[in-house]
Subunit: 201 residues, 4 copies
């Protein structure tokens, strides 16, 4: 119960890669549609159109499935932020921040149900969720951006966790009228960073 499990073997053949993808898709679908309570390995295998044995050939246990989903989400987030930073290089920090919030929110809106479960019902692992290479890369990216913007590098970690918490807390559980969410979150993050308030709203 101590290590976050890794995929058992890297799928090398085409058939395998397809199976792994199908399993992950099915897992995400079930998690999003029915919640963690309905998420069991037999169901995932069935929904993936794969034998239960095949599932266990690529994932050593149930947790590894969820871990893989998490990993995928982290990678998507990293890619999105990189894109945003590249596209908004010349803008003032306040606007860059807003653009990043926009991007992350868009990412989460795409798979609301899944992220709700991923965030809220992740069965407790021992390891703090933030101690993986993806999150480290994310932190590094943010720290660089903060420095370039004349802000405090050291706030990167807290900024990320703050953003994550707000996205999940406000988007996932929020009322459906959460239209101005981008502004809401951006204002809060800006407040934390000490950026000036928007001119007027």
């Amino acid at each position: 119960m101590s290590r976050i499990p890794q995929p058992r073997k890297a799928p090398r053949q085409a058939r395998s890669r397809h199976a792994v993808a199908a399993i992950l898709e099915a897992a995400a679908r079930i998690l999003a549609r029915d919640g963690y309570a309905a998420f069991n390995t037999n169901r995932v295998a069935e929904e993936a159109g794969v034998g239960i044995g095949s599932l266990y050939q690529y994932f050593p246990n149930k947790q590894a499935l969820v871990a893989a989903l998490h990993r995928r989400h982290g990678e998507e987030t990293l890619a999105a932020l990189d894109r945003v930073l590249a596209d908004s290089a010349s803008q003032p920090p306040r606007d860059q921040l807003a653009a990043m919030v926009d991007a992350v929110l868009a990412l989460h809106r795409r798979e609301l149900g899944l992220h709700r479960v991923l965030e809220r019902e992740w069965p407790a692992f021992d390891e703090p969720p933030a101690s993986n290479p993806r999150d480290a890369a994310l932190r590094e990216r943010m720290a660089d951006w903060l420095a370039e913007s004349g802000l405090d590098r050291a706030k990167a970690g807290t900024l990320l966790r703050m953003a994550d918490s707000l996205v999940h807390g406000l988007l996932l559980d929020g009322e459906p009228d959460a239209a101005a969410l981008e502004d809401t979150i951006t204002d809060a993050l800006a407040g934390f960073l000490g950026l000036p308030a928007r001119a007027h709203t």
Copy 2:
């Protein structure tokens, strides 16, 4: 799986009230100490020194136990905020906000493990967590305070969820050096509310 279950009967006799309290204590203890995975009704009854049958006399099912803990937490939060508002009636909004953040953080620091589980591993119920009388009262209190402080009443709901998200996201998963957490969260909330930044830190 559709309604949040209520306690089956109000304990009217002294013995009953004692049993209910013991059960709730045991539940909180197990959740805090061992996590949701170890939280099962037989264990709770045993730890409470009560027969499993008795547990089901006061709680219709497992979820009702967790719901009761949530309720208790909501009530403590409400009481704490009331106290803070009464004590800081004459201060500027920024300071009142900081005092409230302090109080809520103190509340959570007291039972870190429990709140982590309560927040993160609460099995999905259908009902949005915010639709109960306690949360409504909390929202009302905040709305009143916002109005008195010359701010936007309508932001009460978002403010509360934001505060909750940040407390959990930063305190519960945070690094141990979370000393300046009060300032961090207060700054973010102030940013959201449009309050001026602190003079300097």
Copy 3:
């Protein structure tokens, strides 16, 4: 995988004692009739007319079932030997030995199939089978008898293992014509102990 499991709880009520007995009976029956391959906990529970959950209330796992059967066998053996020694106190060692062999063989003939499995298919536990209080008592009894008979106390352990091996090896796998088995085994044991050969055969 290191300790031989003990019964989970001592059955205190009449109903429980009955359940435990039924489970043990069923386990013995299945082992004897169908072998270890067919011995699974669900089948045992079914054959015992008991829910699988009840089985696990009294036995922490599958091995504990087999261990309990072993224990029972050891106790029966001990009782039988005590009886024989009491009944043949005045006879010469050679005859006492023969009487003991007779008794043990009779014990095994009663439940041939079960003992075959118990002896041969016991899934490897880490603990050497002989390190339990029952076997210690058995060894003690034999050592005393050897001393009283003017023989070497130290041979008790080997004598017992030798007897056990021969009973199982010759009776359980033996040809059906194993009529003179008593003499065969007694002669071998007597040979080991240095007792004079029978007058004539």
Copy 4:
């Protein structure tokens, strides 16, 4: 579950013979090192450096693997006894017997772990273990020796089973101080055969 399976095909080419040998080696190694619980066909194939499909080309099923190991052991025993009888042709029966016991014990001491499993955890087959050509040859050899030594031919079968039981029962489960095991077993066998006790010990 009714017939002891034979190797599916005799390996005629060099490559095949090598594969079969590697598989058998791996099987013996796993059995000796990790016990029957860890003995599964996929693991054997992997340890042998062979595809699981190849394993099933030479062995129709798992049992065939164990059967082959048994066969190998029988052949080694037969060869060893032949050698001993040839070398001790002129000695008295008692000494020849002791020499045979020595040889068999030496054989077993070489692969203690393996034989322990082979003897104790062999999953029940229907066929009595003694009804194969190797055992028949062994019995024949013993019967001839008994006759030459002026003893009862008919005791060959029992003698063999007795020897086998004692070797396994005393050596495999025995205490480490089993130094005098040769004498112990020889005395017992001599007792059974009616040979005179050793002069003095």
